[in-house]
């Protein structure tokens, strides 16, 4: 079977909020002399994740796909 490029909102949230490179913090901090900021929206988005976990936003697949479809039409190409 072929992999599909299809992702539900809850999966996108899980990837972007819980995974990936984080530069150490939720607050303005200084690491090795470089001030860094990395504040997240976990309070808002975590409750959304919970809703999705409990199937309270069942149309998320559709909504995510529609959003991507819109972006594909609107966004300029990335050619050099």
């Amino acid at each position: 079977m072929e992999p599909e490029r299809e992702s539900c909102l809850v999966e996108v949230l899980d990837r972007l909020l819980n995974k990936g490179v984080v530069l150490n913090a939720d607050l303005i901090i200084t690491v090795a002399g470089i001030p860094m900021i990395g504040i997240n929206l976990r309070a808002v988005l975590a409750s959304m994740e919970t809703m999705l976990d409990y199937g309270m936003m069942e149309d998320c697949d559709k909504a995510t796909r529609e959003w991507y479809a819109r972006q594909k039409c609107m966004v300029p190409s990335m050619n050099r």
Binding site: G38, I39, W67
Partner: protein, 259 residues
């Protein structure tokens, strides 16, 4: 203190400074800041985090971040994706210095993940089918079922509940063993596999089934077809369904060692 800050999307192998268009969060211009052959994809922003109480807006930001990563993968191949809302205070030079200081680590990680991408595998099962399979092969449960038929209504109800609970446990243990076996099979093809236990979200299409397991897999591009074939075999088994998605940036596998 500078009022400038850079929102970070990902690190890619690129030596040129490029403008990638207004594809960022809230249509911000995304561009690369390069140091030697490693570049950060960023947009300029005020030195404050993206923050809102509006869920729809927050959701849009996350999807926009995800979109930039997808586009970056198409253009640059392997990227090291940043989590949402990671912002460095400072101008392009500050980012260049940061890239320079962490060059070895970033370069090594790009090398390790080159030609590989993350795929997600979800395996679903039909509970009723597995329950009847487990029941027919379990003497104790079959005896309990027979006993129910001989009892008065009240007692039969209690015994039925007891049977349901025992059956549920037996199915769970059966399913766990199967998941472990499938995990090993997938692990023999993928470079790395992680069993995801955080959430049990089941997409609409599989609502009539239960989730057996979710695996995040780091797979070399030469092995994607092999993995697809292995998953097809699982998908063809009675009462099972497989959802295979990707390629995604290696969110679950990137390890920059605390840059």
């Amino acid at each position: 203190m500078s009022d400038e800050a850079k929102y970070l999307y990902c690190i890619a192998r690129e030596h040129e400074e490029l403008q990638l268009g207004n594809i960022g969060i809230e249509e911000k211009m995304v561009y690369t800041i390069a140091q030697r052959d490693v570049a950060a994809l960023v947009h300029s922003c005020p030195p404050e985090p993206y923050n809102t109480g509006d869920k729809a807006l927050a959701e849009g930001w996350v999807l926009e971040h995800s979109y930039v990563i997808d586009q970056a993968m198409k253009k640059f191949g392997t990227v090291l994706p940043f989590s949402f809302d990671v912002i460095i205070k400072g101008n392009d030079d500050v980012i260049r210095e940061w890239l320079d200081r962490n060059y070895e680590r970033l370069q090594k990680e790009l090398e390790r993940l080159a030609d590989r991408a993350e795929y997600s595998v979800q395996i679903f099962y039909d509970y009723d089918m597995y329950a009847s399979k487990v029941l027919s092969g379990n003497c104790d449960l079959l005896a309990l079922k027979e006993k129910i038929d001989e009892q008065s209504r009240g007692k039969a109800y209690l015994l039925q509940r007891n049977l349901d609970l025992k059956l549920k446990d037996a199915v769970s243990s059966n399913v766990e063993k199967l998941a472990e076996q499938f995990g090993l099979e997938i692990g023999s093809i993928a470079d790395e596999v992680k069993a995801e236990e955080r959430h049990s979200f089941v997409p609409e299409k599989y609502k009539d089934k239960k989730l057996m397991a979710t695996f995040s897999c780091l797979v070399h591009r030469d092995n994607v077809d092999v993995l697809g074939l292995a998953l097809e075999k699982i998908n063809c088994l009675d009462g099972l369904a497989v959802r295979f998605t990707g390629p995604w940036a290696p969110f679950s596998f990137v390890d920059t060692g605390g840059v």
